[in-house]
Symmetry: C2
Subunit: 188 residues, 2 copies
Amino acid sequence: MSIHEYIKKYVDEDFDITEELPVPVREGKFPKGSILTEYGEIERRAFFLRKGIVEISVSNGEKESIMDFIFPDFFFASYTSFLTGEPSDRRLECLTDCTADVMMKEDILKAYQHSLLINKLGRCVSESLYMRRSLREKEFLIADAEQRYAKLVLSRPELIDAVPLYKIANYLGIHPESLSRIRRKIAS
Amino acid sequence: MSIHEYIKKYVDEDFDITEELPVPVREGKFPKGSILTEYGEIERRAFFLRKGIVEISVSNGEKESIMDFIFPDFFFASYTSFLTGEPSDRRLECLTDCTADVMMKEDILKAYQHSLLINKLGRCVSESLYMRRSLREKEFLIADAEQRYAKLVLSRPELIDAVPLYKIANYLGIHPESLSRIRRKIAS
């Protein structure tokens, strides 16, 4: 999906997909292992993933935890840093070779001043990022690890093949051994 | 703070606060204990809190957990239900007598079609709700209960006087006895 198709599908069904966007977009190719945004860096870009998987980790300097795996057709960034201008408490890393559309924050902020379309897009993206974080918080509060794993497998079966198990365990907030136990239990 | 003042401060500094909003707003007064949105209800309103404290809980039918306490000058709703039209998995309850500005979802959606201002407002509110959820998720992942409590006291000292300790313990995801222990440790 292109950003144009995303807008037509999720933001404004009347959008003409041959129209030029009021924000310049360039394509970026990032080999596996690339760090898109490092801890401490100030986020100056927003990405729309076209191909690959990106991991978002958070750290307090001592403990590191995986917050999210990003799949194609999703907007992402170290978004709190993008919004506040403060150094990123997250790291964005390509788990596979990735292709992404890249927009610069300064171009987006300029467009936010006058463009109805880009404000609609920014609103819809923020709404969907809110729902994603809110759902995960809820699951941590009221679902156990087995339920969280089952949900993950149902919603993102490709994750299990693409991402090492110790990373999935970290994402679920459990020990790798606990994940192995859960997987055996579900398989039997 | 009024919605007009909020817009001028956080959304658009050029906003003329004598201007009429493109969305009708009515004031609501809700006595202590009122349920603004119940589990299973479809959220049709957005609120801007003028006075009081609102508690947002989440439940899976078995376990209930407090996700947030809302203080004045904040927009809130059962926001995922508001966005998706699905039944709310949250309950919004007034912990004190509350006054809130209330906007209807249908009026907001209409304004989203054409109003630059209301899209900017919706974007800014969604961004701030995203950051709030994202910060709390991060704290659950990488901070312990004592650090989370210390942060809460620093950022919202009035919470400690206004909300019973068992609710604060629930919000922090710990037993009330653990919270008492943490409080004694910090006090000594």
